[in-house]
Symmetry: C2
Subunit: 444 residues, 2 copies
């Protein structure tokens, strides 16, 4: 690296990794350009709260521009990156080429349906605000539809939610949906009993939360049971249809199916490297760069690297943030002619929330389950939320919902026409239909 007074750093992706890179370069003599397809950072660990009507999108997402507003060496652009010319040090976007001295690719991952892309419209995953709103809509509509059937026809189909995948996202969705059905909704319905809702969590492996020690997995499973969730481990989902799922020979009728079973890295990974792993992740050098490209960093869920002890660095927010800080430090080292160092992931613990007073937590040296794990989870997540306003509002919303058992964001923001359409054509989930216009107009 030569000493450039204002090296141009292009960061792709405003998630945990990208934002940490940017903020830790605040005082460096660099020009930073942050590119993202969305105008906001999403605090993904709380997305399940939006999906389960506990929080509003604006409480867990913040405009990237506002976040870096005071950082004078940084610009934000809404742009879609289409590829790279690594030799010429250029990022291709839809309608422009952008030059860089340093490139930091932190484009993350999305769901993977394991060669069953046709399942996506039938079983949405949870990665974006839009995903969360779609899940919220489907979950709430399932209860509305049952109530409608019961009120008009005297009976209704069972309400069954199937959640595929027993990792942290599947566990928190299953636990929270079951909790909402059993505590928030019953008083609001007259013809159905939401406490009879079935929530089934299906995991292909032998236990939920496989990244945790076995005793915490067992505790999580117990806590899920207490919240009313049926857990089926060592069970493979073989088919997803509009209102049923197959697990081998077992067919389960479902109201709503949700997907939390796998992720696949951004296709930008393959634009960077031909060596991506089976999850689309780019293998990086110990300094998180591409081989032969010390100026190109790949971090977060898009990268795969092992710690010196041989354990792979997990695809979690703390790892992405540590990588982001490492990249900022490495660029600073370059600029100061200091030698580079190697990235080491420092595992400070692992938390997973399950529902009210229910969570598991693994810290170096000790473990927690239940209420205290849940309190730790709450505290840490409010602490890391971006923006004082969000922290305050989320605390109020949680206190409110903890004391009253109410979920405040139970809005179905779509037209009921869609409900009708789903009834008549259950496999039309994926069609983004325009709202049905019931009001006719005429010259006035």
């Amino acid at each position: 690296m030569t000493d450039t007074r204002s090296a141009r750093v292009v960061v792709i992706g405003g998630g945990f990794g990208g934002l940490e890179t940017v903020s830790h370069l605040k005082h460096q003599p660099v020009q930073i350009l942050l590119l993202d397809r969305k105008n906001h950072h999403t605090f993904q660990p709380l997305l399940y709260q939006v999906a389960t009507a506990g929080l509003s999108p604006a409480e867990i997402a913040a405009p990237l521009r506002s976040i870096v507003s005071k950082q004078k060496n940084t610009e934000v652009l809404l742009a879609e990156v289409t590829g790279f010319d690594l030799a010429r040090k250029i990022v291709h976007t839809v309608d422009a080429e952008i030059e860089y001295d340093y490139l930091v690719v932190a484009a993350g991952a999305r769901h993977s349906y394991f060669a069953h892309d046709e399942w996506e419209p039938l079983a949405p995953g949870l990665k974006t605000v839009e995903d969360a709103l779609e899940i919220r809509r489907r979950v709430l509509l399932a209860f509305e539809e049952a109530e409608r059937q019961a009120a008009l026809h005297g009976h209704h189909q069972d309400i069954t939610f199937a959640i595929v995948g027993g990792g942290p996202t599947g566990v928190e969705l299953a636990g929270t949906i079951s909790e909402v059905a059993r505590t928030s909704l019953p008083r609001d319905f007259r013809n159905i009993d939401p406490t009879h809702t079935r929530v089934i969590l299906i995991e292909a492996g032998p236990r939920v939360l496989a990244a945790f020690p076995e005793d915490l997995s067992a505790s999580a499973e117990q806590q899920l049971h207490k919240l009313g969730v049926e857990v089926r481990t060592s069970t493979m989902v073989t088919q997803i249809l509009p209102h049923e799922i197959h697990m081998g020979d077992v067919v389960l009728p479902t109201s709503v199916t949700l997907w939390a079973a796998g992720v696949f890295a951004s296709p930008l990974g393959r634009a960077l490297s031909e060596q991506v792993d089976r999850a689309g992740r780019v293998p990086v050098q110990p300094d998180l760069t591409l081989p032969n490209h010390p100026e190109v960093f790949v971090i977060g869920d898009l990268a795969t690297i092992k710690n010196p002890d041989g354990k792979p660095v997990p695809g979690v927010a703390p790892a992405a943030m540590q990588m982001g800080r490492f990249v900022a430090k490495t660029i600073s080292d370059d600029l100061a002619h200091r030698p580079r160092t190697n990235f080491v992931y420092n595992d400070k613990g692992n938390l997973a929330t399950i529902g009210r007073n229910a969570a598991v937590a693994q810290f170096p040296g000790f473990k927690l389950t239940g209420y205290f794990a849940w309190l730790s989870w709450l505290f840490i997540h409010i602490l890391f939320l971006i923006g004082f306003r969000n922290r305050l509002l989320v605390m109020i919303e949680w206190a409110w919902s903890y004391l009253t058992y109410k979920r405040s964001a139970r809005l179905i923001t779509d037209e009921v026409g869609r409900l009708r359409e789903q009834r008549s054509s259950p496999d039309s989930h994926n069609a983004e239909t325009p709202p049905v216009e019931v009001i006719e107009r005429r010259s006035a």
Copy 2:
């Protein structure tokens, strides 16, 4: 009316009129069924705050079920009403017939494009949460697009918002968008100067806020000028195209056009009566019923009636609420064998907000403009918001935004692919495109 111990009251529409009817029948021996196409009540007077990124939908909307949760004589159903059989006392919905003893139709109104329905996708109006989110998306994208152009190509097109219609909605949208452009956004953009944003309010009549006295209209126009809005009165919009509007021979290039020029009543009005007026409203008897149908009430924006003094009752929330209470009283009178009375609208005043510290207010006996009008507006609107939690959160949001000049809900919840699409095909606004899926998947 005969003395039915549990007369069945069907209320269509969970707006101001419908909800007041329901809540004032709380202690009557009736069975109430509230039908709505949406699962939530929308506090329409604050929708412009959602459209301008100041509030989140869940802060101004509340699930109908939660609102009537404790009212044991009331059920809520998500349903789309398709018509009536008044002779058989039946409401038709998409897939069921519902019987009633009393029917209260409070289905409201939507935008009217005056025989130019093709303008709707080019100039959205503001009646629902979905409308507000669409306006928010377009307004925020206009700034993002200009910043992108300026950053990548060194220049950008002027940012111009045209708001058609100088009633309360047009005035508050114009004032607030101009205020946001001049106070909230400048610090966040590096390549454009949002304070140069043009906001043009176009009114066909001779003055804005025609329902107010002339001096208040004049004051509103002055306050709009102070906030940077250009007001064009006595100006007819003759054509709306994707990026320009025509006012006779004058052509104005626009970034975003918004529609606040007219409303047309729900088509349910025409299903009830052949005598609807030019705005689709149903003329009702002095007791708000249909002629020859003392059991069928039509209220709110769907009804047209004159006060005893000959002045038409305005289509505002207080009028709808008074009508709702009157209907509840009339049904109670029937049940108690008391004679019916006539509806009289009690005009307690009229407020319109314009922007920060800017509003006009007309109360019986006195008028206010500017800061004190704005304070009254704020106070009254927080007071009438449904739900303690909403009141608290909205107060916090407003205090936050008043002190910091920040807008907290600046989320563009759609994919940037849409931005690209709009650039390449500017007249594709109306196509509800599915989010662009950039992440490819494969077997993992």
